[in-house]
């Protein structure tokens, strides 16, 4: 089980088959860069964007599923980061701060009327990049066993309660520590650990008919 990030403090191995995002396993922003970022220095801003774009886009995309919605939210998150830079304390880690903004932005979307209205409806959006579209009907290429399996997993994640989905993705895919996640979702570390386990258990049950390891 090389993918499981058990220790919150130690660097965690990259999940098998998963493309690691730049600097994902650690907060790559040292103190002087964080201060420069707060002061809106051009170099720090560019470094921040390059380090966090994939992380944030991937996070949002996994949470909301749809490509265009993920793009809209990612854009809103970066613009919100700009607005909040003045209030950022460089003595504190950057990653929880950024993911808190992102999480709140996604939550705002979930609470929005349009989301509530569309909730439960099947998205007609087809994903041109492959995967991570909420397509209930598999595309022809997804009929291949591997793609279909991925689609099932994606759907299972999407069907998780939002709090579990947040915790699962922050922990597993973004490799944040339980303490960091607790800071973001405003729960204590033990509660986050429990929620993560419940999310995995929920997925196990939803994927039980897949066979193989997950259904074991």
């Amino acid at each position: 089980m090389e993918a499981r990030p058990d220790d919150a403090t130690a660097p965690t191995p990259t999940p098998a088959g998963k493309r690691p995002a730049a600097g994902e396993s650690a907060d790559s922003f040292p103190a002087h860069l964080r201060s420069a970022l707060r002061d809106r220095e051009a170099g720090a801003l560019a470094t921040f964007y390059d380090a966090y774009f994939d992380r944030l886009y991937g996070y949002v995309r996994r949470l909301v599923g749809e490509q265009h919605l993920a793009e809209d939210l990612t854009q809103e998150i970066f613009m919100h980061v700009i607005e909040r830079l003045g209030s950022y304390d460089p003595s504190r880690a950057l990653r929880p701060w950024v993911f808190t903004i992102a999480t709140n932005k996604v939550r705002d979307h979930w609470r929005s009327r349009s989301h509530q209205r569309n909730r439960g409806e099947v998205s007609l959006e087809l994903d041109e990049t492959g995967g991570w579209a909420r397509a209930d009907t598999p595309r022809p290429d997804q009929e291949l066993a591997g793609a279909e399996r991925s689609a099932r997993i994606e759907r299972a994640i999407q069907e998780l309660p939002e709090s579990m989905r947040l915790t699962l993705i922050l922990r597993y895919y973004k490799q944040l520590s339980f303490a960091e996640i607790g800071e973001i979702v405003e729960r204590n570390e033990a509660a986050v650990r429990k929620r993560y386990s419940r999310a995995l258990e929920e997925l196990r049950q939803r994927l039980s008919d897949l066979g193989g390891e997950a259904g074991a």
Binding site: A3, T74, Q75, T129, I153, L200, G212
Partner: protein, 297 residues
């Protein structure tokens, strides 16, 4: 009990059968405890499934566009002087607006306080300057009349009021006033000279006033020193009322000039002579005039 009997009894006793429910529950718990590692492994298997999902990849054009927008939007905020410039601009605009509105409220002199300006009360259209009706009291012709002199004014109705804030003097002519303004003397630029054939003249000066005010009437000439006084010409004679300040009267017959002090009335009865009257006549008119003066001086 003899030993043989005991042995027989024990042999006859058989172990009671457990309830089937208890048997099943214990079996489940036994197997779960023994398989704790298996349960953990099943969750780990779920994580392994998660690892098979590809990382979502954004469209590169979206990433590049957002990068440009982010870096542009995150440029350092404008320096502090920018809001100050805006504040100064706003204040300047407000000042211009105020200056534009003041004449409508107080009178046109506010824009050009260094010259004579006409302030109208009531019917201004009844004013005639040099035999020509003047439509507006701030007409350049009227102002020129007081600047240059050498003209006649007729206030048929309403009230004519002119003020020179810089010099600190205000003149007011009630309806029925017939006035001639002699040509201004270049030898005495501070001289204000008015020929009052009929009607009245009220004068107010401030401490900054430097000059002389000469009022010629059919009954004699008055040199007004200020500060708040009035001259009224009627068919019976001329009356000088001094509320504040003083004046001197020189009769047309060449008699010794008379000095008229504050809070007094000096009446020149035509064909009879001059005398002081008790109290201040035309006090209410002077009081009204003073209240208007306070708006401009």
């Amino acid at each position: 009990m003899p030993p043989d009997d005991l042995r027989e009894a024990l042999d006859a006793w058989s172990s009671p059968a457990a309830r089937p429910e208890l048997r099943a529950e214990l079996r489940e718990r036994f197997l779960s405890a023994a398989g704790g590692e298996t349960a953990e492994a099943s969750l780990a298997a779920v994580e392994a499934e998660l690892a098979t999902l590809p990382e979502p990849v954004a469209r590169r054009d979206f990433e590049r566009r957002l990068r440009r927008e982010f870096l542009a939007a995150a440029a350092p905020p404008l320096r502090r002087w920018t809001p100050r410039v805006l504040q100064i601009a706003a204040l300047a605009a407000a000042a211009v607006l105020l200056l534009a509105l003041i004449p409508r409220i107080l009178g046109p002199w506010s824009l050009t306080p260094s010259s004579w300006n006409a302030v109208a009360f009531d019917a201004a259209s009844d004013l005639v300057v040099a035999g020509r009706p003047v439509a507006h009291l701030d007409d350049a012709t009227l102002v020129d009349s007081f600047e240059q002199g050498d003209c006649q004014l007729s206030v048929d109705g309403g009230l004519l009021c002119v003020v020179h804030p810089e010099r600190g003097v205000m003149l007011e002519f009630p309806a029925g006033s017939e006035i001639s303004l002699p040509a201004r003397s270049s030898e005495e630029p501070g001289l204000i000279e008015v020929e009052l054939a009929s009607g009245g003249l009220r004068v107010s000066t401030t401490e900054t006033f430097r000059g002389r005010i000469l009022v010629h009437t059919p009954d004699g000439s008055f040199e007004l020193e200020g500060e708040l006084l009035g001259v009224d010409v009627a068919a019976s004679g001329t009356c000088l009322c001094v509320e504040e300040g003083a004046a001197r009267f020189a009769s047309v017959d060449g008699a010794e000039p008379q000095r008229v002090g504050r809070a007094s009335t000096f009446f020149v009865e035509r064909g009879v002579g001059a005398r002081f009257l008790d109290g201040v006549h035309h006090a209410s008119e002077l009081s009204d005039f003073a209240s208007r003066r306070d708006l401009y001086l």
